[in-house]
Amino acid sequence: MHGALTDAELVSRALAGSDAAFSRLVERHQAAVRAFLRRFLGSGWAEADDVAQEAFVAGWSSLRSLKDPAGVRSWLCGIAWRKAQDRIRSNRRGAARDSGWLEMVETPAGVAPEEKMALQAAMAELPADVRACVSLCLGDGWSHGEAAEALGLPLGTVKSHVARGRARLLKALGGPDDA
């Protein structure tokens, strides 16, 4: 029913009270939001999915504040990012924060388990802003502009964060120091 509708049309229908339209938005953007949170939070997937659900519910209740309905994916990821930061600040995770990252992921062919652990450790050492930029731009292929909009950071900052984060991760995977 809502298959061919654009995000802007779905937002408009959701604002008019259509739960089906909002469900379609969830269906369309859940993968992006959850992938971002899995990489950013670095814990088990259950926590990332929990934060993702909180983000969608927050999005539903504040849909009227969305200025650009076509940019709903960036907007949702921005909400998810703030929720994830709150989660990191508030809890219980602390030093154990990144211990579970990638543990649930099967090691892809051509990648050694030690390299997976090295990447896990390198991600854990990245500052939160850098990790968020890396998750979006390197993990999901977002443009620097999209990531800047979603995270509320200046474009130049995003570019430098991505470059710095990429260099650190590649170094952890056996790349050169100035990768």
Binding site: S23, E27, R39, V57, L170, L173, A179
Partner: protein
């Protein structure tokens, strides 16, 4: 495999599925719960107002209920009598009908 390819492969390995019905159902459930709470929260001020109004009208309503009771009492007696009479009438009709049916049945 270059470090670049390894990084891409590791990132790709943890991507969630394009469609996840369980996740979507969980979000829908949370939204329904949030909506229910919002409805309750929206009703609270009206309940408070209704309570205050009833409290303010308490003495008036007490007097009114006594007056109404006096007014309604004869009417209630008539209605109760009618209901009892109708019930008895229906019961007698049933009894008579059974007796007539038994008497008319050939042995």
């Amino acid at each position: 495999m270059t470090p670049e390819q390894k990084l891409a492969a590791l990132f790709a390995a943890e991507a969630p599925p394009r469609r996840d019905y369980a996740f979507e159902a969980d979000v829908a459930e949370r939204i329904a719960r949030r909506r229910a709470w919002m409805t309750v929260a929206a009703l609270v001020p009206w309940m408070v107002i209704a309570g205050i109004v009833l409290w303010a009208l308490q003495s008036f309503l007490e007097t009114l209920s006594l007056e109404l009771a006096t007014l309604i009492q004869p009417l209630a007696l008539v209605v109760a009598g009618t209901v009892v009479a109708a019930g008895v009438g229906l019961w007698l009709t049933g009894v008579l009908q059974r007796r007539v049916t038994v008497a008319a049945t050939p042995k």
